[in-house]
């Protein structure tokens, strides 16, 4: 097996692919190497350094509790990436399981599963995330659950429609008539043929998850202080907009950058892995 898979090399040939890969790599690096990149503690308070302007010791200044802003942003990458990955994966796993079985078996199970999806979709999407967050409570794991469940309908619908398409192909019909069990048909023929588009949406979804999770934290429903989370940081920055606008500028840029990185990467993956999804359908899955 080659060291770099072919599709990854094809992504790296696209401008947006390179940009997306580079951005996500920088954030991953910041998350992993945060302790090496800054000597400061992101949580420990130091009231002697109350909102100091940028300096050599504190390149972006300090916040209202005397903590280094750069350190909080770097460590914040850990929180956001962990949430993006796990919430998107949770949505992918539950959504695929629901959509694949609904699309494959049809019948009453299809009706029940799709009724459930329609029910979730009959609330404005952010309201769903907010409502789940109210029920499950605060903290990183809770945000992952809230944003993960909120991502289920998108994966379920995609998995269902792709399964229905693949299922109608002759090789599936042939496999079934040769006596292959449902489990074998799903594992051997259906699943491998629907993974490409799911993988694309999973990447695009991470961009949306970054935005939604930070929104919940901004509203006070997500990750709580003193954990360095960009949305929660912006919520306190709002009160100091007049005196220290930097507190509001940089965490927002951090969110914007990561969301954009996942979006560009997902877009490039769509072009390479699943050209059929380009156009209206693909854009819908990317942003809605």
């Amino acid at each position: 097996m080659r060291l770099v898979p072919g599709w990854l090399r094809r992504i790296a040939r696209l401008h947006k692919g390179v940009a997306g890969l580079a951005i996500v790599a920088v954030y991953l690096l910041a998350a992993v190497c945060a302790p090496l990149l800054t000597p400061h503690d992101p949580v420990k308070q130091n009231m002697a350094k109350y909102m100091t302007p940028p300096s050599w010791a504190h390149p972006l200044g300090t916040d209202d509790l005397g903590r280094d802003l750069l350190a909080r942003i770097l460590y914040g990458a850990r929180v956001s990436i962990v949430i993006a990955f796990w919430a998107s994966t949770l949505g992918l796993v539950i959504g695929t399981a629901l959509g694949l079985t609904a699309g494959y078996y049809g019948g009453w199970w299809d009706t029940v599963a799709m009724r459930f999806i329609d029910l979730v979709l009959s609330f404005p999407s952010l309201i769903v995330a907010i409502a789940i967050a109210i029920v499950v409570g605060h903290g990183v794991a809770n945000v992952i659950v809230a944003v993960g469940i909120y991502s289920v309908p998108m994966f379920a619908r995609l998995a269902r429609s792709s399964t229905q398409q693949v299922r109608a192909h002759e090789y599936v019909v042939a496999a079934r008539s040769l006596g292959a069990s449902d489990a074998r048909v799903i594992a051997r023929y259906i699943f491998p043929n629907i993974t490409a588009s799911l993988f694309v949406v999973w990447t695009l979804r991470m961009g949306l998850v970054v935005l939604t999770a930070s929104t919940l934290s901004f509203l006070g429903l997500g990750v709580q202080p003193p954990t360095p989370e960009w949305g929660a940081m912006l919520s306190t920055a709002r009160e100091h907009l007049r005196t220290s606008p930097g507190l509001a500028v940089y965490p927002g840029l951090a969110i914007l950058g990561l969301a954009m990185g996942f979006n560009l990467l997902g877009d490039a993956m769509r072009d390479v892995l699943d050209p059929r999804m380009r156009g209206r359908l693909g854009q819908q899955y990317g942003v809605a």
């Binding site: 907010i130 929104t215 901004f218 709002r238 907009l241 914007l256 969301a259 942003v287």
Partner: protein
């Protein structure tokens, strides 16, 4: 046409009923005993039991639900834990500010989004197209609340062009409307562009060009008409999504609407108000979908004459 819309409206009823069941169930999942809350920490056991009986919380769930459904149908959403007045009275004054904000934001998003999307499609990969694509990508990836904060910092604090929060004049609406409208604007521009590109490749457009029609006639008459149906659908979808994001915008700008009421109610754990608001959001969202379908049928001559 009318029977079609009516059928669509009737089809929405089971969904609405399911929504009420969900909201009812969710409230029973949330930790905390409302009776204990209303009676207060110091209340005696009998008093709590009295409140529970008064609220009907000692009855079986299905009876409680039917009672709940009956009260909703009569417009009774229960009593707010904080103000101790009817939830409907707490919600009512918040409706108009939210409608105002949504109207301003969506008018901005729809008009600008459609216009820039069409212009970008006329010269694909030209400089206007590049600018529109970049700005619409930004519109989709900028966190709504951060955009609000940045506008507040620049327009209100730095240049002092508009007041930073509150309501009253048109100047108060500017920043919240841009904040809420940015994401839908970006998406509408993107979808309009790809839809327009598709329409412009159709045979009847080639015929129109071949007939020697002027550019504005081809674009505005032939192409735009065929764009209308998808446009109604995706603009409608964006209104629905914006409904949720109004919560964020209203919180940033201290806008006295429904979204901010929701966040305030969450902070003080005013469950009856939260429940009423979420129900209202869902009802408006479902109604909106019916209306969008109705408008889509109305602009589509095929269904207009069929019905």
């Amino acid at each position: 046409m009318l029977p079609l819309i009516l059928r669509r409206a009737v089809e929405a009823v089971p969904t609405l009923v399911l929504v009420t069941v969900t909201v009812f169930l969710v409230v029973h999942v949330i930790p905390g005993d409302p009776a204990l809350f209303l009676a207060g920490d110091q209340a005696r056991e009998e008093d709590v039991a009295g409140v529970r009986r008064h609220l009907g919380l000692d009855r079986p769930y299905h009876l409680q639900y039917l009672g709940y459904l009956g009260r909703i149908l009569r417009g009774d959403l229960g009593y707010s834990f904080t103000t101790r007045t009817a939830v409907a009275d707490v919600i009512a004054p918040r409706v108009w500010p939210s409608v105002q904000l949504a109207l301003a934001a969506m008018t901005l998003a729809a008009l600008l989004g459609l216009a820039t999307g069409i212009v970008a499609a006329l010269r694909p990969h030209g400089w206007i197209d590049t600018v529109v694509s970049t700005v619409s990508l930004l519109g989709v990836t900028v966190p709504t609340f951060w955009l609000g904060l940045m506008l507040m910092w620049l327009l209100a604090v730095h240049w002092q062009l508009v007041p930073s929060f509150g309501t009253g004049t048109w100047k108060h609406v500017v920043m919240p409307a841009i904040t809420l409208g940015a994401a839908p604007l970006g998406i509408i521009a993107r979808l309009t562009r790809s839809e327009m590109l598709e329409v412009l490749q159709q045979d009847f457009i080639r015929t129109a060009w071949a007939k020697g029609l002027a550019r504005h006639v081809v674009v505005l008459k032939h192409a735009l008409r065929n764009m209308l149906l998808p446009a109604v659908n995706f603009v409608g979808m964006q209104i629905g999504i914006a409904l949720g994001y109004a919560v964020v915008t209203e919180t940033v700008f201290a806008w006295p609407g429904l979204g901010r009421l929701l966040i305030d109610s969450v902070t003080v754990r005013d469950y009856p108000t939260i429940q009423g608001l979420i129900l209202l959001f869902a009802a408006v969202f479902i109604a909106l979908n019916v209306v969008v379908d109705g408008v889509a049928m109305w602009v589509d001559p095929r269904t207009r004459h069929a019905g």
